[in-house]
């Protein structure tokens, strides 16, 4: 265990302090909708130039981890993912907060994030070189099918209202195509406006579609924003821990999914959390509870998105290919510092790499106490602030957040426009999540499809490109399983019912809320 020597390097008081500051800064930035992890890292990169490389990396890693976790606060407390990675956290986080379990939800998110972050970092430490090959095994067809797999979640999210879910998803897919296409460079659906050339920004879309309807409803109704639980105060940590233990398979599976998806350049935290949410729901005993405030949903998404941090560094450090957008920024920072990333890094610059990985682990562990404290404070302030102060504050933040994306008002206009459309659709039974899924996954699906087609066409084997690759077929199988699981489950239930008439009453009572 020569690696342990580097632990000592990472444990200097200065590095510990940097990790702490980084985590706190990351959490706060990540919790603000619009200020993403990428931005947090990019803004702070210049400050690291004066530090030695390992310390600089530690602080960047800590900010990144903190920001991904911080995104869960606003997802849970105001139904707005602070970062795209936290989209799926809103599905169950906000319903939990709404019914008075906000503190519990934040504690669950913290435990899951820390576990996911640790799994990702440990995989980075011990299995990085072999796992980096995963990034290479994924070609355009695999990305296409992965996006399709993510889209099958729509059927699960719109139970009882599949048609409206599909319409919402199509709207999202259309939105994802606005602007200049990456492949072909065609200008699409910009209606002659230069503002839309760059497409609909995902973060602006997230803020608009999720947050604006909540704000309008807050103003329009007398209900308090969140119900305060009877035993308010406290982290409800014991309860959260007990729930996490019963969901331990979910926790580990989601962490592994997060790591693997994090390795894929071009997928990222949002895809990781959506895929693991989908898997958690499929394998749950109570899939129908997902989306109504099921703790398992929060655990799945938060474990997965924090695992992408470690996972994303695997191709970054081994192949020199950034796994996620913040990794790209960190990679740039390393190049400026004169560190040559790539296959030789682990052997030639082992001390920097392993010190950094230990720093990442330390940062993740620091997140547990710090996160619980900040989370509790955030929850209390959201609950105790009167609505008349809360609404303008959040409204202000949505504008600042969407302005911050590119430092201009275009994204604010897009955010407000989508917000109003989202609110109108919401009132007519169209949930925002299918639209957002279409928006996030549309680009990945489209690029994967066109690239696969072009390569297949050149080789005269288009069908083989889409259906002749083992990894693709495995993803297709999972997607089909998710899509038709309700039918399969019903069929199994029916067969069992034929055997014993008493079971059927129990199952149907169980099965339907």
């Amino acid at each position: 265990m020569d690696k342990l020597a580097y632990l000592v390097d990472a444990l200097t008081p200065m590095n510990l302090l940097l990790a702490l500051v980084g985590v706190v800064a990351g959490i706060v930035i990540g919790a603000m909708p619009g200020l993403s992890a990428t931005m947090a890292v990019a803004v702070l990169v210049p400050f690291t130039f004066t530090m030695d490389p390992a310390s600089g990396l530690i602080v960047l890693g800590a900010i990144y981890t903190g920001a991904i976790y911080g995104g869960s606060y606003s997802a849970i407390l105001v139904n707005t993912p602070g970062t795209p990675s936290a989209i799926a956290t809103t599905f169950d986080g906000f319903p939990m907060a709404k019914r008075g379990d906000g503190a519990l939800a934040v504690s669950l998110a913290t435990l899951a994030s820390v576990t996911g972050g640790l799994v990702g970092a440990l995989m980075l430490m011990f299995l990085a070189p072999p796992l980096a090959q995963v990034a290479l095994a994924f070609g355009p067809p695999e990305y296409f099918w992965l996006a399709v797999f993510g889209l099958t979640l729509i059927s699960a999210l719109s139970v009882g209202n599949l048609l409206k879910g599909m319409i919402g998803a199509c709207l999202g897919l259309l939105l994802s195509m606005v602007g200049i296409a990456v492949i072909g460079a065609d200008v699409r659906f910009t209606m002659g406006s230069q503002v839309l050339l760059g497409g609909i920004n995902i973060v602006a879309g997230l803020i608009g579609l999720y947050c604006i309807p909540v704000l309008i409803d807050l103003v329009a109704t007398r209900d308090p924003h969140l119900r305060v639980s009877s035993e308010s105060g406290g982290f409800r940590l014991k309860e959260a821990f007990a729930i996490t233990m019963t969901e331990k398979f979910n926790l580990v599976r989601s962490s592994l999914i997060g790591t693997i998806v994090g390795i894929l350049p071009g997928a990222g935290g949002s895809v990781a959390s959506l895929v693991s949410y989908s898997e958690a729901r499929r394998s749950s005993k109570h899939p129908e509870r997902y989306g109504t405030g099921e703790p398992g949903g929060i655990i799945a998404t938060e474990a997965a998105n924090n695992a992408t941090v470690g996972g994303g560094f695997i191709p970054t450090l081994v192949l020199g290919i950034p796994g996620t957008p913040p990794d790209a920024v960190i990679l740039g920072a390393l190049l400026v510092q004169g560190i040559r990333i790539g296959p030789t890094l682990f052997t030639t610059q082992g001390s920097i790499v392993y010190t950094f990985i230990f720093g990442l682990i330390i940062g993740t562990l620091i997140m547990l106490p710090v996160g619980l404290l900040i989370g509790r404070y955030a929850y209390k302030s959201i609950v105790s602030i009167p609505k008349s102060a809360l609404v303008p504050t959040i409204a202000f933040m949505t504008v600042v957040g969407s302005f911050a994306i590119h430092n201009n008002l275009n994204d604010v206009a897009v955010m407000l426009g989508l917000g109003i459309v989202g609110w109108l659709l919401n009132r007519n039974g169209y949930a925002p999540s299918p639209i957002v899924l279409g928006l996030v996954l549309g680009q990945i699906a489209e690029q994967g499809f066109v690239q696969s087609y072009l390569i297949g066409n050149a080789q005269g084997n288009v069908l083989g490109m889409f259906f002749g690759r083992p990894i693709s077929m495995a993803i297709v199988a999972f997607a089909a399983l998710t899509l038709f699981y309700p039918l399969i489950a019903a069929a199994i239930g029916a067969r069992r019912a034929r055997k014993s008439p008493t079971d059927i009453t129990v199952e149907s009572r169980d099965g339907r809320p």
């Binding site: 210049p46 355009p140 460079a185 497409g199 790209a328 390569i455």
Partner: protein
């Protein structure tokens, strides 16, 4: 020899540090430097290398911002709406600012961009995986000739530097190959490493990051690139191809002649900094000096070159 370089560097540093107090009154406050691409790309890395030198030379800070979208068009279409006082400058890229307006309405024309300095380029490079059957460029060309359309090249974006390079290469070598656009240099390189495509059009900078995992068959520089002493240039192999993605700095059109010249001077000074030059070289960049005064001729030359390729690519001429 070493001593002289150190002395020269020291003399230069003293000379330059004395300068801001003297004749110049630019800059007197922080300068915003807008990069039209995401953080982490070549444009960003080059700007990040300029940043500390700018601060060392002028005593003012340089704030790097990102305004990505539409392959850079998002930012360039907004450039002339910004203040022309010299405190907002923007990175520009070739062939992007020539090819994009040529292909379609993107909200700006090439003539709208007031370039004041072109400070480097990243030479195009053909890369193949280390275990590829293609050991030399000749083997790749022979294969392409025998199998028209079968050879796949990955690259970053459509109508981009990689795309132009691939089309130019097809024309010069008399072959037909298939271009597969990806959303950036990283995914395009990944596709090469993972054997999703047979080869890639990339830059020396990206190839450098991959170490032994890729083989560079040729680079499109005038002379061999220091980071790849063993890789021949296209010219050596008989293909008249030099260039790649050029990067420079532009100001809004409302900037006065004086401001344009001042910005050009500062960027030129950064380009003369020995430490900067060394870091750029190490990163696979090729430093060039095209100041404001020479810009018109440089742009006209590039434009004529790209127009020929654009015709071949079937890009509509507006």
């Amino acid at each position: 020899m070493k001593l002289t370089t150190i002395l020269a560097g020291a003399a230069m540093a003293i000379g330059l540090s004395a300068m801001p107090a003297g004749a110049q009154d630019y800059p007197t406050k922080p300068v915003n430097y807008i990069i039209p691409f995401n953080a982490g790309g070549e444009s960003d890395i080059a700007a990040r290398l300029q940043q500390p030198v700018f601060e060392k030379l002028t005593g003012q800070s340089m704030v790097v911002q990102y305004l990505e979208g539409a392959g850079g068009a998002q930012a360039w279409s907004q450039l002339n709406g910004m203040e022309g006082d010299g405190y907002t400058i923007m990175g520009t890229n070739l062939p992007h600012i020539i090819m994009q307006p040529m292909a379609q309405e993107v909200g700006y024309k090439t003539a709208d961009i007031t370039n004041v300095y072109m400070f480097h380029y990243t030479p195009d490079a053909i890369i193949v995986p280390a275990e590829s059957q293609f050991k030399t460029l000749k083997e790749l060309v022979d294969y392409a000739k025998a199998n028209p359309g079968l050879l796949t090249f990955s690259g970053s974006g459509t109508n981009s530097a990689n795309h132009v390079a691939k089309e130019t290469f097809d024309r010069l070598a008399g072959v037909t190959t298939t271009y597969i656009p990806f959303s950036g240099t990283s995914p395009a390189t990944t596709a090469v490493l993972g054997n999703q495509v047979q080869a890639g059009f990339s830059y020396t900078t990206a190839a450098l990051n991959q170490g032994d995992a890729v083989r560079v068959l040729a680079v499109s520089a005038d002379e061999r690139v220091p980071s790849f002493p063993d890789v021949p240039t296209f010219k050596e192999l008989g293909y008249d191809m030099t260039g790649g993605a050029y990067r420079g700095v532009a100001v809004p059109s409302s900037a006065s002649e004086e401001v344009r010249q001042q910005v050009s001077d500062v960027i030129g000074k950064i380009n003369a900094d020995p430490e900067f030059i060394q870091k750029m070289k190490d990163g696979g960049f090729v430093v060039i000096d095209v100041p404001y005064g020479e810009m018109e001729a440089f742009m006209a030359e590039r434009k004529a070159e790209y127009e020929e390729t654009a015709k071949q690519m079937g890009i509509a001429q507006n």
